[in-house]
């Protein structure tokens, strides 16, 4: 029988291997007193890390801001429903409907939010507070193109040929614009065949289709594109970078999407999650977030709108914005995504 001997050197190597194995990144839940909050990448991520981390820290909790698009947040939470990747989610009604359908979020205890009463009742959702309303429209570069009147202009005015960038139906910003185009060129927001025909008739609009608004921001900076569908926040960010960018309200109305913080089902850090929600709707945080480069519309009634925000929207005009039918969108979205991708590929 082979005699097994272990020298000191071999033992040391074995111990080092075991220690190294222990250092591998095994997904761990945050300890008590901390939370992982999902936010959109880019401007949102920077702003929430800068503004909310100190406020949550003051309340006695560690905040980790994790950037992820709303669809990705859903995918990651679906992947591990028992131990969710995020304690809180950030999303619009479209994704909220999917989260509810899949039992991923829970109703909140509003008595645990000291700033709850400061919110306009329209922003007091039972599944979490609305932290802002994203107003959507068209971003354009005045150095390269004239101001578009609306979505139809981008297809009918030769000045925009080859200068407009679109994204696929996975993007909320894009899908809201497409439902508006379906109203203009088709029989209603569900008539996406009319939109596909429009793109087929204007192939120059298919050349600049990219994967996300974040990619469009990079391309805009490089002068690759002159027009893209955006939120006011995107334009505020471009301006803060010193770029010449303007926002246009489409003549058919500006699509809008409330952005809510939701409490993930299965979160073990409820105290921290409530502290984070409360900080996000506090006057201190929202006042900072109304300033460039974010210029987010405040849902806390004690926060005054800045001239920069009032140029786009006021508290009185919020109800008159276009709020898409997300149930209709969610029902058709998979088919639309697949059909559009096939159309774009040619």
């Amino acid at each position: 029988m082979t005699e097994f001997k272990l020298t000191r050197r071999q033992f040391g190597l074995l111990a080092a291997s075991a220690a190294a194995a222990g250092l591998l990144p095994i997904p761990a839940r945050a300890a008590n007193g901390s939370l992982v909050a999902a936010t959109f990448p880019g401007n949102w991520e920077d702003a929430y890390r800068r503004v909310l981390t100190p406020l949550v820290s003051e309340a006695g909790y560690d905040l980790t801001i994790a950037p992820a698009l709303a669809q990705d947040q859903l995918a990651k939470v679906m992947a591990s429903p028992g131990a969710p990747a995020y304690d809180t989610l950030l999303m619009s009604p479209g994704q909220m409907a999917i989260a509810l359908e899949n039992d991923l979020i829970q109703k909140i205890d509003t008595s645990r939010l000291s700033n709850w009463s400061k919110l306009d009742p329209a922003f007091q959702g039972e599944y979490g507070p609305t932290v802002t309303v994203e107003v959507n429209g068209i971003a354009y570069n005045p150095d390269l193109v004239p101001a578009p009147k609306g979505y139809a202009d981008l297809f009918e005015n030769p000045a925009y040929a080859g200068k407009v960038s679109w994204t696929g139906f996975g993007s909320n910003t894009a899908v809201m614009a497409y439902t508006q185009l379906a109203k203009i060129y088709g029989s209603g927001p569900e008539d996406m065949d009319a939109v596909f025909k429009l793109f087929a008739d204007h192939p120059e609009n298919l050349a600049g289709v990219v994967d996300s608004t974040n990619s469009q921001m990079s391309l805009y900076q490089q002068g690759e594109i002159a027009v893209f569908m955006c939120s006011t926040g995107n334009v505020a960010k471009l301006k803060s970078l010193g770029l010449n960018a303007e926002f246009v309200h489409p003549e058919t109305g500006s699509p809008a999407a409330p952005v809510n913080i939701h409490l993930t089902k299965g979160s073990n850090n409820l105290d921290a999650a409530y502290a984070y929600m409360d900080a996000a709707i506090s006057q201190a945080a929202q006042e900072q977030l109304t300033l460039p480069p974010t210029e987010m519309f405040p849902t806390n009634m004690d926060v005054a709108l800045t001239p920069g925000i009032e140029a786009f929207v006021t508290r009185d005009t919020i109800p008159s914005l276009v709020y898409p039918d997300w149930a209709l969108i969610n029902k058709n979205r998979p088919d639309w995504i697949r059909a559009f991708d096939a159309l774009v590929m040619g």
Binding site: K5, Q10, D341, M345
Partner: protein
Amino acid sequence: MRASGFPFLVPMLALSVAFFALPLALLFAYSFAGETGPSLENYARFLGDPFNFRVLLNTARLGFETVLSTTLLGIPIALLFWHSGQRTRQVIIFLTLIPMLTSNVVRTFAWIVILGRQGPISETLMALGLTGAPISLMFTEFGLILAMTQIDLPLIILPLVAILSRLPRNLTEAAEVSGAGPWRVMVTVLLPLMVPALLAGWILVYASTSASFVTQAVIGGARNVYVPQLIYREVGTLFDWPLASAIAVVLLFTTGILLLALSMLSRHRRLVGHG
């Protein structure tokens, strides 16, 4: 008698099983998940759609085109290394390795600048009078291959350099004395000796290119769709995980067959200069 080293392999084996083999097995099992139980419906859905088939072919073509371009660039660089002195060799290795120390994402975004309307390629073409207006290579397969070639070039240069650095430099002199011209030396002496390194490089480049989600998405745009984007779409946007698993298995299978073929070629005695 010396003790077996097997116990020392146990931690690594355990990690490989837990974090590689097991997830792959789960992925494979998940790809058969159907509405009413295990079935092949996800594979039928994927392979039955001509769009998906085109995406699969596009991905394979992108891999082959990048392999070709990295080979055409990599061989001269490796030969330059072989013929150079110590200092030049250090410079070549440094320039090869430096890009690898930056993130793939950073390199991809640098290529946006290079390929863009205001980038050096467009400016140079305009300066040479070859184009009257700025041109953009963004969202084109050519631009994507350019970016992928730069990103994956070290993967083919390093194996070539490893092999060539072991060859005596008077090898070519011996062939020339025997009457062989430069091309004949290249084709009959050097290339056969380089084949194992080329095959290793091709495997690395093909695998890297066909799975490079970020570069494909950012440089290729939405008009050039490849399998990784399709998988991402099914997982992150449509939440159709069984179909995404089936697509991933198909990608693994097709890539695996190609890599297996290349591996078998690398063991072919006549091909690698032993015959």
